[in-house]
Structure formats: structure tokens, C-alpha cells
């Protein structure tokens, strides 16, 4: 999910129909530049090298979303499999991970490595983050945590000062944690863009395929 605003103009996207490193390629109708839908980066055209601003979004179940945002609007329409439509996290959990960060500065947390009901205090490229898994869906979200250190408690998260925070909204009373872009990726697709150990790209990413498992505080 990206903002379509870029440098003071609003872009409108079409589907180029190409695959770049197994990710679909979009074009913008204003300049004809080509964009990779998974990274939000322009790879060709006048806007080559530009990066779309990632908007935090969440993949979750309809029941969960509706209960959290009863006034949500929803896209109605025909369903279809293939590509995106075939997504089933319950079936393919081990193939997906949560990519946390923005643009080229990302870190991948394979879902099977994340504590199912857990919380991961970590940093991505110097930014202290907390990755929180939604117990109901198994999907994750991430927030900037500053100097706070979180742990899971009674379905919510609690910081070292004992404040209780909403697990998925990152709110505690008037306080609100800043969401960090986090999105589910197919692990092999992610690996086509980001190589572990190559500078900041994917720094600290565990080799995919090695068996679990982060301990507490990983």
C-alpha cells in the first residue's frame, strides 16, 4: 500500500503486466515510469530511482478488521484465485515472512520464526522497533519503540514501565506508537531483492531454510 503522492503530484497507476524479479510491475500514467509493486521503487523511466511512500496496512481476517473498524468501507466484487487471490497464510505460513522497514532498508521476519503469541524487540537499520504478531491471524505489525521494551501480556503488550498498549494499534491512552511499514512477502521473492549481509539490505536476516528459532528477546 503506497501513497500516490510524489514530489507534489499525484500519480495514477496502471498494470504493466511485466514481472520483475517475480514481482509485478506497475506504470504511472503521468510519466510512464515503471514501478515494482513490492518495493515501491521506480526501475525505469523519468522517475527511475524514486521511491513511493509506504503506507502501513494490515493483512488480517475480515472478522478481525470489521470488529476493530466497524465503520470500515469494503471493496465488493468477484473473487478469483491466481497470484494474489491464492493467498492463504494458514496453508503457506512457512513461505511468508514479515518485511519490516522501508525501501531498501528492510529486515525479514519469517513467520515461522516469530513467536506465535509473541513480541520481538529489535532494531532495523538503527531504528528501534517492536514487531508484534496478531495472535488471531498470525500476521504481524511493527512500531517504533524508542527506548521502550515490550513483552506480551494478556493479549496486549506491556512496556518495562508497566504501561499496557493495544497490541495492534500501538496505543496506550493518548499515547500512540508510530507504525513502521511492515508487509508480508513471499520469502523467496523477498530474497530476490534483498540479500542477507549486503550492507544494510536485509542486514541480520537469518538464512532462510535454517530451522527455527529465536529465543525470548530475539
Amino acid at each position: 500500500m503506497y501513497s500516490r503522492r510524489l514530489d507534489g503530484r499525484t500519480l495514477t497507476f496502471g498494470h504493466e503486466g511485466l514481472l520483475y524479479k517475480d514481482s509485478f510491475v506497475l506504470y504511472d500514467k503521468q510519466t510512464g515510469s515503471l514501478w515494482v509493486h513490492t518495493t515501491g521503487e521506480a526501475i525505469r523511466g523519468p522517475l527511475k530511482g524514486k521511491q513511493l511512500t509506504f503506507l502501513p496496512s494490515r493483512v488480517t481476517t475480515w472478522a478481525k478488521w470489521r470488529s476493530e473498524y466497524p465503520q470500515t468501507l469494503v471493496l465488493n466484487g468477484r473473487r478469483a484465485g491466481g497470484f494474489m487471490g491464492a493467498f492463504n497464510l494458514n496453508r503457506d505460513r512457512s513461505r511468508y515472512g514479515l518485511s519490516v522497514g522501508h525501501g531498501k532498508q528492510v529486515k525479514l521476519y519469517p513467520f515461522t520464526w516469530l513467536p506465535r503469541d509473541g513480541v520481538v524487540n529489535d532494531d532495523v537499520n538503527g531504528l528501534k522497533v517492536v514487531v508484534v504478531v496478531d495472535g488471531a491471524t498470525g500476521m504481524g505489525v511493527a512500531f517504533e519503540r524508542g527506548d521502550l521494551v515490550f513483552r506480551s501480556k494478556d493479549g496486549q503488550i506491556i512496556d518495562q514501565q508497566g504501561r499496557v498498549w493495544d497490541r495492534l494499534r500501538g496505543t496506550s491512552g493518548e499515547r500512540k506508537l508510530t507504525p513502521v511499514p511492515a508487509t508480508a512477502w513471499l520469502i523467496d521473492r523477498w530474497m530476490a531483492f534483498f540479500r542477507p549481509g549486503e550492507g544494510v539490505r536485509g542486514a541480520g536476516v537469518p538464512p532462510v531454510g535454517r530451522s527455527p528459532r529465536p529465543g525470548p528477546g530475539w
Binding site: 500500500m1 503506497y2 501513497s3 500516490r4 503522492r5 499525484t10 500519480l11 495514477t12 497507476f13 496502471g14 498494470h15 504493466e16 503486466g17 511485466l18 514481472l19 520483475y20 524479479k21 509485478f24 510491475v25 506497475l26 506504470y27 509493486h37 526501475i43 525505469r44 513511493l52 503506507l55 502501513p56 496496512s57 494490515r58 493483512v59 488480517t60 481476517t61 475480515w62 472478522a63 478488521w65 470489521r66 473498524y69 466497524p70 465503520q71 470500515t72 468501507l73 469494503v74 471493496l75 465488493n76 466484487g77 468477484r78 473473487r79 478469483a80 484465485g81 491466481g82 497470484f83 494474489m84 487471490g85 491464492a86 493467498f87 492463504n88 497464510l89 508487509t183 508480508a184 530476490a192
Partner: protein, 166 residues
């Protein structure tokens, strides 16, 4: 004299060789530069393939959306992509008119523009909850199975123009 001539010839040959070498060197550099560019594109070419024709997917533009109650076809355990945008009424009005311009270009009228106008009224004179807005948050949900048809969409949320893609 002959020796000297030979030397001269040798010098000329050596100079010529040097010139040629330098030229070749520059050419090599140029070629390298060229290769950097072309290696960029050969990487690109290598990594790219056509899956479907351009515009092969019916990308949506500011689609009509329904409320949770009206979404009869959705099952509780269906996966959705949810987005919320916090916005100020002022910002929404501004971007609302922006999205109207876009839609005018597309020959369509924007539902979001109506939201924006009403929201600004609400901001001046609150009249209770408003469809799609939860306080200052607008939430939108895109079922993954429906996105499987479109793959991509242009929409707005809370006045922010968004590209729905995942």
C-alpha cells in the same frame, strides 16, 4: 643515421602504439561505462518477463465501496488488506478536490470528494458518526480474493491518494 632513423621509426611506432593504446583505453573506459549502463539493462532484461499484456488486469479507480453490513459475500475468515489513514478535515478537503481533478481526467466522479465536503461540514458542525470514518480515521478493506481479480487499484483513504497493491 640508419640507426637513428630506426630509432625515430621506433619512437614513432611506440608513440603511435601509445596513442592507440590510450585510445583503446579510453574506448575501454567508454565501453565499461556503456557496459555499466547496458549491464544495468541486461540485469533488467534478465530479471524481467512478461506475464500478461499491459493493462491485462482490470485495475480499479476509486471504486464504489460498501459498508461492513452490506458486504454479504465476505466470510469471517476471508483475508483482507486493511488500511486506515488519519487525516485532518482540512487536508481531506484539499485532497478531495485533488481527487476530483483526477477523476475528472478519468471521466469519473469521486465518491471521496463527497466525503471530503461532508466531512468538512461535519468538522464545522458535527452531526454524529459518518460512514467510513471512525473519528478522524477512515478505514478501508480490500479482500485479498477480490484483489486477485484487479491486482492493483487507485483509490483514496482519508483524503490520501493510495495505490492498493500487495
Amino acid at each position: 643515421m640508419l640507426t637513428r632513423g630506426k630509432r625515430t621509426v621506433a619512437l614513432v611506432v611506440a608513440t603511435a602504439a601509445l596513442v592507440v593504446a590510450l585510445a583503446c583505453g579510453s574506448l575501454a573506459v567508454l565501453r565499461d561505462l556503456g557496459q555499466q549502463d547496458s549491464s544495468d539493462s541486461s540485469d533488467f532484461d534478465q530479471d524481467i518477463s512478461r506475464a500478461v499484456p499491459r493493462d491485462g488486469f482490470p485495475v480499479f479507480n476509486n471504486p464504489p465501496m460498501v459498508s461492513a453490513e452490506q458486504a454479504a459475500g465476505l466470510r469471517d475468515d476471508d483475508w483482507i488488506i486493511g488500511v486506515t489513514v488519519n487525516g485532518q478535515a482540512k487536508v481531506r478537503v484539499h485532497s478531495g478536490s485533488e481527487s476530483m481533478k483526477n477523476d475528472h481526467d478519468d471521466g469519473r466522479f469521486s465518491g471521496n470528494f463527497r466525503f471530503a465536503v461532508l466531512l468538512s461540514l461535519r468538522h464545522l458542525n458535527p452531526f454524529g458518526p459518518f460512514l467510513g470514518y471512525n473519528g478522524h480515521v477512515q478505514a478501508k478493506a480490500y479482500p485479498v480474493a477480490v484483489m486477485g481479480v484487479h491486482e492493483l487499484g487507485n483509490d483514496t483513504c482519508g483524503g490520501e491518494p493510495i495505490a492498493v497493491s500487495w
